[in-house]
């Protein structure tokens, strides 16, 4: 890696930190500006109780002071503070619990999307305009254009209610199966189409014709030359795909009641659980920033012709 690339990475990391700081600041002040608080409920608590609760969690201090204290806790101790709604639990623990499930869901979905996408895409390219290709193309068009909440509900009705093969609840045994499938279908279809078109392009290149002319075996041409080069666009899609899976899981976790970070995020907002809103926002923002960073660096790694600036 040359100094130019290294400089670029350092610059991008610094920019990522600034981005996250902006996210923290904006979220913090917007969140406090929204009407309603963590201790408002259908049944009002007395003024004394409210005052005691606010004092306990430091919400009685000026907003500026709260902000500085929060920044200090997060940056120096990586402490997101106590949850205001789930009393006795702290946000770090809640996020960790949610991340375990969400990460499993996301990583498996990404792997499935990659493996199935590349295989189906190559297959379609090699069988161009044959029946298999047509079927694969129709299916992927459907998966790409169908939003995940429709796909999720569809799978739920077929496999959980009618056929009773898989549970409807994400927390049950084998409960992650349907959410994983729902989450992976879109990126899988996208990768299939990407691989197919890129493979077709590569197969038409001069060097492939040269290889054929030299008598290189078909398998070697496909795996040794064509596939490797046709994967470049797929790899560059990897960053945006992971970011898409992170945000897509917000919907999927809701449909299948998966106890992931997405559900914690949504519930924290409706409940005005300030520390949990901040914690989940920071983690999700950091994830997306990092995914994009990795994606950009991957560009350079797989294609040395690209210069990073």
């Amino acid at each position: 890696m040359n100094t130019k690339t290294l400089m670029y990475i350092v610059k991008r990391v610094l920019l990522a930190i600034v981005t996250i700081w902006v996210v923290i600041t904006v979220t913090f002040f917007v969140m406090h500006a929204v009407p309603g608080g963590p201790f408002t409920g259908e049944k009002a608590v007395t003024k004394q109780v409210m005052a005691a609760m606010e004092a306990k969690y430091g919400l009685d201090k000026p907003l500026g002071t709260q902000y500085l204290t929060y920044l200090k806790d997060v940056c120096l101790h990586f402490d997101f503070g106590p949850s205001l709604k789930q009393r006795g639990r702290n946000v770090n623990g809640i996020i960790l619990d949610g991340m375990k499930t969400s990460a499993k869901l996301g990583i498996i979905a990404a792997l499935i999307a990659l493996i199935f996408g590349v295989v189906l895409g190559s297959f379609a390219a090699l069988r161009r305009n044959k029946l298999v290709d047509r079927i694969i193309m129709v299916m992927t068009t459907a998966f790409v254009s169908m939003p995940s909440f429709i796909m999720g509900s569809f799978l739920l009705i077929i496999f959980a209610i009618s056929l009773k093969i898989f549970p409807a609840n994400g927390a049950a045994r084998n409960g992650l199966f349907l959410p994983v499938v729902t989450l992976s279908l879109y990126p899988m279809a996208y990768i299939t189409r990407l691989t197919r078109s890129s493979m077709l392009e590569v197969l038409g290149q001069d060097y492939i014709r040269t290889a054929k002319a030299k008598g290189v075996s078909g398998t070697k041409i496909i795996f040794g030359h064509a596939l490797k080069n046709s994967l470049i666009p797929v790899i560059t899609y990897f960053g945006p795909m992971l970011a898409g899976i992170v945000t897509g899981s917000l919907v999927v976790e809701q449909i299948f009641a998966v106890p992931g970070i997405g559900r914690a995020f949504v519930n924290s907002i409706t409940g005005r659980d300030y520390p949990l809103v901040m914690g989940t926002t920071i983690i999700l923002a950091a994830l997306i920033v990092i995914m994009n960073l990795i994606g950009d660096i991957m560009y350079k790694v797989v294609d040395p012709r690209i210069t990073l600036e």
Binding site: E42, Q48, G88, K104, P167, N169, L176
Partner: protein, 596 residues
């Protein structure tokens, strides 16, 4: 090529098997699967304030009293940790002292004995300002509570509750409290142990959660499920038939219903509103509608100007506006709402205090409200709707211009109906909107997200808003004391803002032996006085009469427009026996059996 294909296939299988190996230990296999709501806000008895938390706590902790199923399926109170309910002894100063004896063999889940001192500690903890519990006020009937919360309190004040020895508990109440036994069965009154709760996170993990009830926590995957395991050393273990309970923690009603339909779960506590007609048809025995102590209502902001072009002022204007509100309230077609909109077996309401609360003589309080030959403050029957509609029209004609040709009023002020974002509330709002429109009242609808809505309504930044109230215990006071001037639930702003100085309320308590007789006084001079009289009244008959008077006064303001009395909807699999629920919505699974 084949080798490569094989390795790709192998990789796929590995990925898929990753998905299959799900949770580690998983919920109990021998238990009932139920779903009440999402992750409970807390399982600390002192801090809980939601019914779903209360239900889990009732299975984990045993208080002085509990609910049991009576011979006819009704809920009856029974002594739990005490040998019997005793009669209170009235002291010369009007306070009442109860002495209870704890049963033998009561233990905590770590084997230590339950003592009377544990109750003394738990109650003081739950009531204290330092704990700042939502339901701390549940202890306000006990002598000493007021001193704890006084402005000059030092922080070392305690409730008048003593434990002379490990088996004896002596409680002194401010005065006779008709619902005292019921309070003792409430989750907030459950005992906790001082050394256990000294760890602030004690109620969040199975190993630190030491309880004294029928069950203990076996496993708790936060936001997924909570498994309770029966305690074999529990004093009443022989009565407990369900070995384990898996509480699935989910609040997506559509997903919950899917789990019920495919047979994974035996009980769900809520259903999607739009599915109700289908569920009634497809699951006639498993879809259950039962009574619930609560009222769904529309509330008016008392400070909303309904006569902007009138010369009326002060008392006269306030009385006229009350008359107008009461007339408009008559326009709502409640029977249509319950039968065609909400469809959950709700009962059209004509009073604020809900169905299901008893009166002094044991009859239903709501049936005696209003002193009319029909139930409540107006006739809510289907047949009477046309007549009440005409009555309302005649009243409104006194204040607004009626156009005979169109059959509508032409100069009524426009209203904005505020509700929290929810399809069910929206449908009801639209029904009311259409009722009003037929009379020429232009009412637009505005929805807000839940927490924002609560704040807006509390601050009185609305003209008309959706509202609802569920009682905490079977006594009408839990519906009436929320309308005092200082109450945080007084969303209609009676006695607040401009209404603070309005002298338009009258009350006469002389027939009940009180000196109070106010004509055209402020809200504080009338309503607040009756409520404080109710709280100190020791004669049950007089007390209930006072409560009727309070409701009469409240309803005369027209600020409350009752729509229906709530019902509790749930689904229970027909293989389950022994389940029961109380009118306050507390469900008991410990006596269940599953017959597959």
């Amino acid at each position: 090529m084949k080798k490569k294909l094989f390795s790709v296939l192998l990789a796929m299988t590995m990925v898929l098997s990753l998905v299959a190996c799900g949770a580690k230990k998983g919920p109990a296999e021998d238990g009932i699967n139920v779903c009440l709501a999402s992750e409970p806000a807390t399982l600390d008895p002192a801090l809980q304030s939601a019914v779903d938390c209360g239900i889990v706590i009732n299975h984990l902790f045993a208080g002085l009293a509990t609910w049991e199923e009576g011979a006819n399926g009704e809920s009856v109170l029974a002594p739990d940790c005490i040998t019997e309910f005793t009669e209170g002894v009235e002291n010369p100063d009007g306070t009442v002292t109860y002495t209870y004896t704890l049963r033998d063999g009561l233990t905590w889940s770590d084997g230590k004995a339950v003592t009377a001192g544990d109750f003394v500690f738990a109650w003081n903890r739950a009531a204290s300002p330092a704990t700042a519990a939502d339901y701390g006020y549940m202890f306000d009937v006990i002598d000493g509570y007021d001193a704890m919360w006084a402005d000059d309190a030092k922080g070392d004040e305690t409730l008048n509750v003593q434990a002379p020895d490990d088996k004896t508990l002596v409680v002194t109440l401010k005065n006779q409290v008709p619902y005292w036994n019921e309070l003792m069965a409430f989750p907030t009154y459950k005992p906790v142990r001082e050394d256990v709760v000294s760890n602030e996170a004690w109620a969040t993990e199975p190993k630190t959660m030491i309880c004294n009830g029928a069950y203990t926590i076996e496993s708790w995957e936060h936001n997924s499920y909570l498994t309770l395991r029966k305690r074999d050393d529990f004093v009443d273990a022989a009565k407990v038939t369900m070995p384990a309970i898996n509480f699935y923690l989910s609040d997506d009603v559509n997903n919950d219903l899917a789990n019920f339909k495919n047979g994974d779960w035996q009980f769900i506590d809520d259903v999607p509103t739009n599915e109700i007609p289908a569920l009634k048809k497809d699951y006639p025995d498993e879809f259950v509608i039962t009574g619930n102590v609560g009222t769904y209502y529309l509330c008016w902001n008392v400070n909303e100007d309904l006569l902007p072009n009138s010369d009326l002022e002060g008392t006269e204007k306030a009385l006229a506006e009350a008359e107008i509100r009461n007339a408009i309230n008559l326009l709502v077609d409640r029977n249509y709402i319950v039968e065609d909109v909400s469809q959950g077996g709700q009962v059209p309401a004509s009073s604020f205090v809900a169905m299901g609360l008893t009166d002094a003589d044991g009859t239903e309080f709501y049936k005696n409200a209003g002193n009319n030959d029909y139930t409540g403050y107006f006739d809510v029957s289907k047949e009477a709707y046309e007549k009440t509609w005409e009555e309302a029209k005649e009243i409104l004609k006194k204040y607004y211009t009626f156009d005979e040709a169109s059959g509508k009023f032409t100069d009524m002020p426009s209203l904005v109906y505020l509700y929290n974002t929810n399809e069910g509330h929206k449908a009801i709002a639209e029904a009311i909107q259409s009722n009003f429109a037929q009379m020429g009242i232009n009412m637009s609808l505005e929805n807000q997200e839940w927490a924002t809505f609560l704040e807006t309504r509390k601050n009185g930044d609305f003209s008309v808003a959706r509202n609802g109230w569920l009682g905490d215990y079977n006594d009408p006071i839990s519906f009436l004391d929320m309308w005092t001037t200082v109450s945080g639930n007084n969303d209609v702003q009676l006695g607040k803002g401009d209404n603070e100085t309005v002298k338009a309320y009258s009350i006469d308590l002389t027939d009940l032996g009180y000196d109070t007789k106010v004509e055209n006084g402020t809200w504080a001079e009338t309503y607040d006085v009756v409520i404080s009289d109710i709280k100190t009244c020791t004669d049950p008959k007089t007390r209930y009469a006072l409560m009727h008077k309070a409701e009469d006064l409240l309803m005369s303001t027209g600020t409350i427009c009752p729509i229906y009395y709530y019902t509790d909807l749930y689904m229970i699999d027909d293989s389950v026996d022994g389940f029961f629920t109380t009118p306050l919505g507390f469900k008991y699974f410990m006596y269940c059996t599953i017959n597959k």
